[in-house]
Structure formats: structure tokens, C-alpha cells
């Protein structure tokens, strides 16, 4: 005999309105034929209603895992299990989807079948890091569910002080703006770091994210420690006939308002014959004009990546944006990918060796200074790393001559 549906007058108010309701979904699970999962979700609904009533959360962590891995299961034990015993254990399995969240329906259905058999049937697509979140597993079912998911070709995601699950924009799969292969780059890096995902042993979490251009559709800028963006070095590609068509479509005034005036570096002008004049030396690859004129304008052909390091959310010193550490790197050939992997390992090795406990990469750089970070990683200085030179004189400059000589030497070498 299955459990009675709890009264949920507050949650019921989230079933009205046009947006799809997760409460309705939870009730579908609670009413499912499978008595075990049904009771578990009825119990969950009871606890959630209590949270809505008292405005408090009732989950605590613990230690639950799968054989061979030190992370990837998020244990959840209820603090009100006496009242809601069937959802006393409600653990999450974090599973890594394919880059850019592509699925075939067979895999999704198979995941559902496993989660119906071994879990509550509740799945978040996706968590903030980019995991498939299989929520609602009892401790005794975790390994069984995992064995089946793993056999399907899916691997567990990150948690704790290790490398986390990553995210990529749709990239070259369906976007003409992608300046590098975000999907292959993500797979290459993440596959190489599976050990650090599954056995966390870093000072704190570390995230990679991959966006194919400055539009940053994967939200890499402030949501990843190591953010990789697509860009180009040569001139952007202009189809003047299509520019004329766009001018005709928008009208001259609106074309000037929406394209020319919105260029952040005043690198654009409209010629008298309605063609576009581009000052490519002033262009900062921001993507705005390309976004507006997708038929007429494209990124250049000499494409590659920019790496920005140190983005993170508030804890502990405040929010930080990733800043430029590698202005440009090619990412086409196998050698290019090897160079990226080698660099990624240098980033992580330095982080492991130098960050304090619970310190993110950005905070470490804030503490030691970017110049020391670059020296530690053996990365060359570049003017694209700063928005302006220092504005205060509290600095020892007795190494100036030597540093100036190094710069000239590098300039000469680069010229040769």
C-alpha cells in the first residue's frame, strides 16, 4: 500500500500559470506506478512544503560515493527524516553530458529508465557547472545506478576541491561565429584531467569553460577559472554587397545607430556608397557588428584562442573576472592541442603548488600578483594583459634595465 500524497497547499500555488511547473512534475513522479519511487517523492514533496512553510532548508551533506572515485556523488541526508522517512536519503549523481549538451533520445530514455529503477526519477538538465543531475538516490542504489550509467558511456562529473565538469557553447556544430572548436577543446582537456575530476586533490575547485567568440555563450568570463575564447588576428571578413543590403534593410540612420555608433573603439565608418570601412588595427574583436550583420561580416581567417584566468563568484574576496593571460594561441593542429594541454597542466600544477587551502585561482593571482604568476608559469608578458599600466609609484624598480633589455630582446626575436 503506497503512502498518501502529502498536503502541499503552498507548492500547489506553483502549478498554476503558463510556465511549466516542476511541482506538477514531482507530483507525476509521486503518483507513478513504482511504489518505491512514488513514496520517495511524496516524502520529498512533504519536506519541500515544510521548507516553503518555514523558509528553511533541511538537507545536510555526508559521505557517499562510488567505488574507485572520490567525487561526483552529492550526498543529501534529510534533517527531518523522522517526519519524511522515505526521502531520508536523496543523493545526487553528477554525470557529464557531451560538450554543448547534445543528446539523442535513446540515451535520454536510457538515462530515464535507469533513474526510474534506481532513483526518484527527478533529473535536472543541467546543474550550474553543466552536469546531468540525477537527484534522489538512496545510498544502497548509488553504485547500481552508476554502474548502468557508466556502461552507457557516461562518466561522473566533478565535485569538491578538484576539476569540475565543464561547459562549451554550441561552437562549430551550429554557429558561424565559432573561432575554434569548443567541443573538441573541451573534450580534449576534460578527458585529460579525469583523474583530477574523480579524485579531487587541489586547494579548491577549478573550472574550465569554452566559448567560441567574445559573445561568451558558455558564460566563461566570470564562471570559470580558466576561460577559453575564440578570436582572430587578421582582418575581419567583409561582404560589401551584403553590407549594402543591410543598410537598405535598416536604413542609413539605423545602420549608423546600430552598427557604426555601437563599435566600442570607433573602428567602423559607413562609406558614401553604403559600403563599410573597417579600421582593423583598432578593432577589439568584440563581435557586435558581426552579430548585427551575420551575412555581411565574419571573423577573420587567422583564428585561435584567448585564455583568461581567474574568474569566480563571491567567496572569499569578492567576485573576479578572468583576465588575459594568453592573448592568442592557434588551436588547429594536433601540436596546437598538445600545447594547450601542456599549458592547462602548467596552470593546474601551479595552482596545486601555490594556492592556499580554499583559495581559487583568481584569488591566488590577486595575492601574488599577475607578474609573479606569469613568471611562475613561464608565460611572456603582453600588453593585452592590462587595461592600463600601473598608476601608483609604490614599486621597486631596481630591475628596470634588465627587464627593458628582455623586452627589446623579445621584440627583436619576434621580428626575426
Amino acid at each position: 500500500m503506497s503512502k498518501k500524497m502529502p498536503a502541499t497547499p503552498l507548492l500547489d500555488q506553483l502549478e498554476s500559470g503558463p510556465w511549466p511547473s516542476f511541482v506538477t512534475g514531482l507530483k507525476r513522479l509521486a503518483n507513478s506506478k513504482d511504489a518505491r519511487a512514488g513514496d520517495q517523492v511524496k516524502s520529498l514533496l512533504g519536506q519541500l512544503e515544510l521548507s516553503y512553510e518555514t523558509r528553511k532548508g533541511y538537507w545536510k551533506g555526508g559521505t557517499v560515493g562510488v567505488f574507485g572515485y572520490g567525487a561526483g556523488v552529492i550526498p543529501r541526508f534529510s534533517e527531518v527524516a523522522d517526519k519524511y522517512p522515505e526521502s531520508a536519503e536523496f543523493h545526487t549523481l553528477r554525470i557529464m553530458p557531451a560538450p554543448a549538451f547534445f543528446y539523442d533520445t535513446k540515451s535520454l530514455r536510457d538515462i530515464c529508465d535507469v533513474w526510474e529503477e534506481h532513483g526518484s526519477g527527478l533529473i535536472a538538465l543541467h546543474g550550474q557547472s553543466g552536469d546531468i543531475m540525477l537527484q534522489g538516490c538512496t545510498t544502497d542504489q548509488v553504485q547500481k545506478a552508476w554502474d548502468k550509467i557508466n556502461a552507457m558511456g557516461f562518466d561522473m562529473g566533478g565535485a569538491g576541491a578538484g576539476i569540475r565538469t565543464s561547459a562549451a557553447c554550441v561552437g562549430p556544430a551550429r554557429c558561424e561565429h565559432a573561432c575554434y572548436d569548443t567541443l573538441t577543446a573541451m573534450k580534449t582537456i576534460i578527458d585529460d584531467f579525469v583523474d583530477d575530476i574523480h579524485r579531487p586533490s587541489l586547494p579548491y575547485k577549478a573550472k574550465f569553460k569554452f566559448s567560441g567568440c567574445a559573445n561568451d555563450c558558455s558564460n566563461a568570463t566570470q564562471r570559470s577559472d580558466y576561460a577559453i575564447f575564440g578570436t582572430w588576428r587578421d582582418d575581419m571578413v567583409v561582404n560589401q554587397d551584403e553590407i549594402k543590403a543591410k543598410v537598405a534593410q535598416l536604413g542609413r540612420k539605423e545602420f549608423i545607430n546600430q552598427v557604426i555608433r555601437m563599435c566600442p573603439t570607433q573602428a567602423l565608418a559607413l562609406n558614401d556608397d553604403d559600403t563599410l570601412d573597417v579600421d582593423n588595427k583598432s578593432c577589439v574583436r568584440c563581435m557586435h557588428c558581426i552579430n548585427v550583420c551575420t551575412k555581411a561580416l565574419s571573423p577573420g581567417n587567422d583564428r585561435g584562442i584567448t585564455i583568461r584566468v581567474g574568474g569566480k563568484r563571491t567567496l572569499k574576496i569578492g567576485d573576479l573576472m578572468g583576465t588575459v593571460v594568453v592573448p592568442f594561441m592557434k588551436l588547429d593542429t594536433e601540436e596546437d592541442y598538445e600545447a594547450l594541454l601542456e599549458l592547462a597542466h602548467r596552470f593546474l600544477d601551479f595552482f596545486a603548488d601555490n594556492a592556499l587551502e580554499h583559495e581559487r585561482t583568481g584569488e591566488m593571482i590577486e595575492r601574488i600578483g599577475l607578474a609573479n604568476y606569469l613568471e611562475g608559469l613561464d608565460l611572456p608578458l603582453d600588453l593585452n594583459m592590462i587595461s592600463q599600466p600601473r598608476t601608483n609609484s609604490y614599486v621597486r624598480l631596481d630591475g628596470w634595465d634588465e627587464e627593458a633589455r628582455k623586452w627589446s630582446e623579445r621584440q627583436t626575436n619576434a621580428a626575426e
Partner: protein, 356 residues
């Protein structure tokens, strides 16, 4: 004991195994795209191949029955493929233009609104909240459901000056990201400490180190080693609560909601920007958070009315100035808006550029 299976450390699956064949065929060969109507994208490859994407919102917390229905739709219209966005919208792709209208009809009949493209209000990205988090100050899925009901029209239409990205966060230290509008918990009282439990549960030096303002110190209460908080220094951020659950920060009345605006990840036009505090002290009013919805709608109305095409929230405010923003939204300006955190001086007006 039965033999334990060693995991297959396969990493991330290859996306090409899960992609519509048209995407595999034209991988890296796309030429341009446009939006024939709100909720629909058309991508055209250099060889003329075309694929239509219909974008639909989801509840993110999906039950297996919902996922199977979504799969049925993808099987019927999209050759069995589907993609999700980073903000939990669903993308259904087809090469057949004649399938677009019936696909939209089918999705909306199943309760999944089509929209979220271009200059619309996209699906609010959200966290776990009371449903599953161990430290939440509020719920996430409920807040998003309540707000998306209110912003339904703006999801389905492209009437905003540019895209609007809204985020939520159930605590103030971690999960939620930057957004044009960010709806975040903001605690207003120091943690309430259960001194009987601290020494049993918490690694005290770790907790002391976690505090951003060094307000926590070791103490002895009733003969037991514990921690105490200098309440004058405490900024009520809740950073001590995850490593030390007996330092309860969540409070049904004093954990409030704050709204921040002008966050932006992209480097498009302007450089990326952090969101800025505009309103605090809103009640954590489950199940529908009407006070939050009211302020969000006020801000969106002003932006929609006044911003120029392509201006994101922070770019619009950058042009009109903060005095005009507060005037247009009717929100109060307080001493708490003045940044006093390290580096905060750069947020003061060091010029005679004034708005009247």
C-alpha cells in the same frame, strides 16, 4: 562481499554521436543565421544546407515522464536529437521548414513555451534551493517558475532592446552567476551559533579562515571549545555556514532577497561587467515572491522603454547614468549602495560628470 566494478574513466562523450546529422555534415561550415520569428533560429551553411532550431523553455527540474515526452517530440520532428542550452532551454532542430509550425504547436500543446531567442528575456538560470541544496536561503525552481509566469510574454516575444539574462542565487557566496538582473539571497543578521555542536562538527581553523572580514575567533562557551562572531564586523555573508552548519545563517525573516543589475559575461561592445546592487530587503516570500517580481518588472519596463537597440542593461545605464536609472525605476538610493569593499573607491564618481 561481491566484487566491486572499477569505473570506466571515459570522460565526456563525443558530441558528434549525439548531433543531428545535418550538424555533423556542416560542422564548422556554417555561413550565417537569422531568426525568422521569435523562438526560431535558421542557420545556413556555406553549401546552402539549412537547419531550423525551435527553442523552448523547460522547468529544468524534469521528471522522467516529462523527459520522455520531450523525447517523443524530438523523435517525431527532429530525427531523435535534442540539445539543451546552458540556461536549461531546449533546442529542437529540423531541416524541414514545413515542420517548424507543427513542432511549435506540439511543444506548446505539451506546455513548453517557445521563445527565448534574440532580444527576449531568456530562461532564468537557477540553482538548487530548498529542493536539494544543503545551505539554501530560499528555493530556486519555485522562484524561477513564479517569475517566468510573470515574464512569459517577454520570453515569447523579442521586444527587449537586447537579450536579458536573469539569474538567481539561493545564498550570497557561490552558485548564481552574473546577470542583467540577478536575484540573490542577502542575509541581514549574523549567524546564530549552536555552541554545543561546533566542536563536534566543525574544523574550527577552517571556519576562522573562511570569513572574508576576519570576524570569527575561537572561544570557549560553557566549558566547550567553540567559535564566536564579532557581530560588529560581520557582514552576514554566510560563508561560515557551509563548513560549520551549527553557525546557522538562514533565517525565515532576516534572510532577504536583493536585486542586482547590469552583470554581463560577454565582451560584446562593452567589457564584461559585474552586476550592481539596486534593491535589498525584499521578503523571501514563498511560494510566489510577488515583491521580487514587482521590482524585476519595474526594471524591465524602464529598460524596455528607454534603452536603444542592442544596449544591454549595463550599457543602457552607462549611457543614461545611475541617477536616471533610479528615477525611472522609482527605487530608493541608500548609503548601502556605496561600495566600501576593497577596490570600491573605483566605483565612486571621480569627475565632474554629473546628471541632472
Amino acid at each position: 562481499m561481491s566484487e566491486l566494478r572499477r569505473p570506466i574513466e571515459s570522460g565526456v562523450p563525443d558530441s558528434k554521436n549525439f548531433m543531428h546529422p545535418m550538424l555533423v555534415k556542416n560542422y564548422g561550415q556554417w555561413a550565417w543565421h537569422d531568426r525568422p520569428q521569435p523562438g526560431v533560429l535558421r542557420h545556413v551553411a556555406k553549401n546552402g544546407d539549412t537547419i531550423y532550431t525551435v527553442k523552448a523553455g523547460s522547468q529544468r527540474q524534469l521528471d522522467v515522464f516529462a523527459i520522455r515526452e520531450i523525447c517523443d517530440i524530438a523523435d517525431e520532428f527532429c530525427e531523435g536529437y535534442i540539445r539543451f542550452t546552458v540556461r536549461s532551454s531546449m533546442e529542437f532542430m529540423t531541416t524541414d521548414e514545413t515542420k517548424v509550425a507543427p513542432l511549435i504547436k506540439r511543444l506548446e500543446a505539451a506546455g513548453y513555451p517557445v521563445g527565448g531567442t534574440g532580444n527576449s528575456v531568456g530562461l532564468i538560470s537557477h540553482t538548487q534551493g530548498w529542493l536539494h541544496c544543503d545551505i539554501p536561503g530560499t528555493d530556486a525552481s519555485g522562484v524561477v517558475k513564479a517569475l517566468m509566469d510573470e515574464l512569459f510574454h517577454e520570453f515569447k516575444h523579442e521586444e527587449m532592446p537586447n537579450r536579458v539574462k536573469i539569474t538567481t542565487s539561493c545564498c550570497q557566496i557561490n552558485c548564481g552567476g552574473q546577470g542583467d538582473i540577478a536575484i540573490n539571497v542577502q542575509h541581514t543578521k549574523p549567524p546564530v551559533i549552536n555552541h554545543d555542536l561546533v566542536s563536534m562538527i566543525c574544523e574550527r581553523p577552517t571556519v576562522v579562515a573562511r570569513c572574508p572580514v576576519a570576524a570569527i575567533r575561537p572561544a570557549v562557551v560553557n566549558g566547550k571549545p567553540t567559535l564566536e562572531v564579532d557581530e560588529k564586523k560581520c557582514v552576514c555573508c554566510g560563508a561560515c555556514y557551509p563548513p560549520c552548519p551549527p553557525m546557522q545563517i538562514n533565517d525565515p525573516i532576516n534572510s532577504k532577497i536583493a536585486i542586482w543589475v547590469g552583470g554581463k559575461h560577454s565582451s560584446t561592445r562593452s567589457k564584461p561587467a559585474f552586476h550592481k546592487l539596486v534593491v535589498a530587503g525584499l521578503p523571501n516570500n514563498a511560494p510566489r515572491w510577488p515583491e521580487v517580481a514587482e521590482v524585476v518588472k519595474q526594471i524591465l519596463a524602464a529598460y524596455k522603454q528607454d534603452a536603444r537597440p542592442w544596449e544591454r542593461m549595463n550599457e543602457w545605464i552607462g549611457r543614461i547614468g545611475w541617477p536616471r536609472f533610479f528615477e525611472m525605476t522609482g527605487l530608493p538610493f541608500t548609503k548601502y549602495h556605496i561600495d566600501n569593499w576593497r577596490g570600491g573607491r573605483s566605483n565612486l564618481n571621480a569627475s565632474t560628470h554629473l546628471h541632472f
